[in-house]
């Protein structure tokens, strides 16, 4: 039973990353009509920025949680301003190809300097150790990742669905021209949205640094799984992305316990099943 609970926890942690990443993808897709293939590379950048902050600047984990997403977010906004914005009005697929190219560049540069092996990032002292819950041993850092991710996800949901800024954002997704007529600077909102989505990816990167080590290719496979998560959940709903992300992480964790050979493939198999039963995704509407 111990092993089962341990795998469930691993599943919840992976689910946190899937949720943060698919949430960002959904927000970006809503405003920019672009599937951000560079999301995995920016997730990796978040982890690397945290690593640099600690080893070069002596800035600890807690500040990195704040600073790394901001730095990567600004980097993302520069990408949006200099490149992505020129794709407005073109076929969606060009955005996918451009961001795929960006992912190759970013990952290639990091691989050149850091190879393919992992760099260690230690858990902050406060979160070291664990608690014995009686039925399992719970490492504090892992519990922290799940809880903190949940708070960030729900915070993002609240920002978009319940605040005035979020209302502007949703309105601009529906009809940008009309929203501009009301005097709202939609291009600036698009840039900020991209920065927000990218910042969420970088945050996931910082959270994962102490667990998965910091590796140049850490985002390469994750992004494809997140694509499958997005296909399963549909990109129409913020809450849908969050729930699907966590749920698939848990299912993956359970698979690792009951049938480990399929743990790499279970998300993709589920995607196929969902497509056969409900092609628009679980929360999606017909295009």
């Amino acid at each position: 039973m111990q092993a089962l609970y341990a795998q469930l926890l691993v599943g919840l942690i992976n689910g946190s990353f899937y949720a943060l990443l698919s949430l960002g993808l959904a927000v970006i897709f809503g405003m920019l009509n672009i599937i951000n293939f560079a999301h995995g590379a920016l997730y990796m950048m978040g982890a690397f920025v945290a690593y640099f902050l600690l080893n070069l600047g002596g800035i600890n984990y807690w500040w990195a949680l704040l600073i790394a997403p901001v730095i990567v977010g600004i980097f993302g906004m520069i990408l949006e301003r200099t490149m992505l914005q020129w794709l407005a009005g073109l076929d969606h697929l060009y955005g996918l190809l451009l961001t795929f190219g960006l992912a190759l560049i970013i990952q290639g540069v990091f691989q050149n300097y850091f190879g393919s092996s992992g760099l260690p990032y230690s858990i902050p002292d406060v979160l070291k150790g664990g608690m014995n819950l009686g039925f399992m041993y719970l490492p504090i850092y892992r519990a922290w990742v799940v809880i903190f991710s949940l708070i960030v996800c729900i915070g993002t949901w609240y920002l978009i669905e319940r605040t005035r800024l979020g209302a502007y954002l949703r309105a601009a997704t529906e009809n940008p021209t009309l929203v501009r007529a009301f005097g709202i600077n939609v291009p600036r909102m698009i840039t900020l949205t991209y920065g927000l989505g990218v910042g969420l990816a970088a945050l996931a990167g910082v959270l994962s640094a102490p667990i998965n080590q910091v590796r140049p290719l850490m985002g390469e496979n994750v992004i494809i799984v997140v694509f499958a998560v997005v296909v399963i959940g549909g990109m129409g709903s913020i809450m849908g992305s969050i729930i699907t992300g966590f749920a698939l992480g848990v299912i993956e964790g359970l698979t690792k316990y009951f049938y480990p050979e399929a743990s790499n493939t279970v998300v993709f198999v589920l995607m196929v099943l969902v497509l056969l039963v409900k092609p628009t995704g679980l929360t999606g509407r017909a295009a």
Binding site: Y94, L96, E220, N264, L276
Partner: protein, 322 residues
């Protein structure tokens, strides 16, 4: 929404005339390669990728479907052909047939799933499906995991042509490429191809005219996958191995890049693009990971400034169809 391909030049008799001349020039140039002293293995490898890119282009350029998982056909056919030759001891022609048949079967299965969504979702689904296959091949015993299948016997095609001789192998690969190329050319200029283009331009209208667009898309997908499989089977004879690199996402990305550089939706663009990218890898192989960075940069430059691709730009400038 602007379509991904430039179709301002209508298919007229002049267009067919231009394309025939270009085809004649291409065939003549490829036919004399063994006489010129150019390293034949480089050209053979490029020809396999050219066929692969042409097959991919049939989907994106004429059907508007971006498959981000075409490496799965290359890799599957490669593994099946390699296994058939080495373990079952089949003759080369049967090995190629088995590889292409496996790719066709894979096309039916994955096609039925993937065509349920359009546009961007189609790309993500094909990508996920190819990743699913990657993990299956990583664990399946017959692929030998990280090592791949090595030391594959080349044998005699139809019991006559000795494929271990580079010149013979070259003309066999060339014949395979030209056969696949002509089949694709015939397809895009057939009534079926016209319906496919109409689906690319406006699917709801094609539906309203009574076309069962899903069937057209599925058929195009299976044809494209089978020809990509043929390329994978031929590649086994050239490289004499079948490995996981042929199923990786990076390979699917390269197929997209070749077609994009040459020109999406042009007849000869994928061929030119394949030669450029294969040559680039050959000459830059000493640079290590910088090759990835350069490929990424080519992607970015192409998408931002050069969306018609090389052949597309030439055709547009001279107002010709190529």
């Amino acid at each position: 929404m602007t379509a991904m391909t430039d179709d301002s030049i209508p298919a007229t008799s002049r267009a067919v005339h231009d394309e025939m001349i270009a085809f004649g020039v291409m065939t003549a140039m490829l036919a004399i390669v063994p006489l010129t002293g150019i390293y034949p293995f480089f050209v053979m490898q490029a020809l396999c990728f050219a066929l692969l890119a042409c097959a991919f282009n049939l989907l994106i350029g004429y059907g508007g479907l971006l498959s981000f998982g075409h490496a799965m056909f290359l890799g599957t056919a490669g593994y099946v052909t390699a296994h058939a030759l080495k373990v079952w001891g089949l003759s080369p022609e049967l090995g190629i047939l088995a590889g292409a048949a496996a790719a066709a079967a894979l096309g039916v299965i994955t096609g039925l799933v993937a065509i349920r969504r359009q546009g961007i979702y189609f790309a993500m689904i094909t990508l996920a499906l190819s990743q699913l296959l990657y993990f299956i091949y990583l664990q399946a015993p017959f692929t030998h995991g990280e090592d791949g299948i090595q030391g594959i016997p080349q044998g005699r095609l139809f019991g006559v042509f000795d494929l271990s001789k580079p010149t013979v192998l070259y003309y066999v690969v060339l014949a395979g490429f030209l056969g696949g190329f002509l089949l694709i050319y015939r397809t895009i200029n057939s009534p079926f191809g016209e319906v496919l283009k109409s689906i690319r331009e406006n699917e709801p209208r094609a539906v309203s005219l009574g076309y069962k667009t899903d069937q057209y898309k599925l058929l195009a997908y299976i044809l494209s996958g089978t020809l990509a499989g043929l390329a994978g089977s031929l590649k086994v004879f050239v490289a004499q191995n079948a490995s996981l690199t042929d199923v990786e996402v990076a390979m699917s990305g390269q197929i997209v890049l070749m077609t994009l550089v040459g020109g999406l939706g042009t007849v000869f663009g994928p061929v030119v693009g394949a030669f450029i990218i294969v040559a680039m890898q050959q000459y830059l192989s000493g640079l290590g990971q910088w090759v990835t960075v350069i490929q990424g940069a080519v992607f970015v430059v192409c998408v931002l400034t050069f969306r018609r691709g090389i052949i597309g730009e030439i055709a547009h400038f001279f107002r010709r169809s190529l």
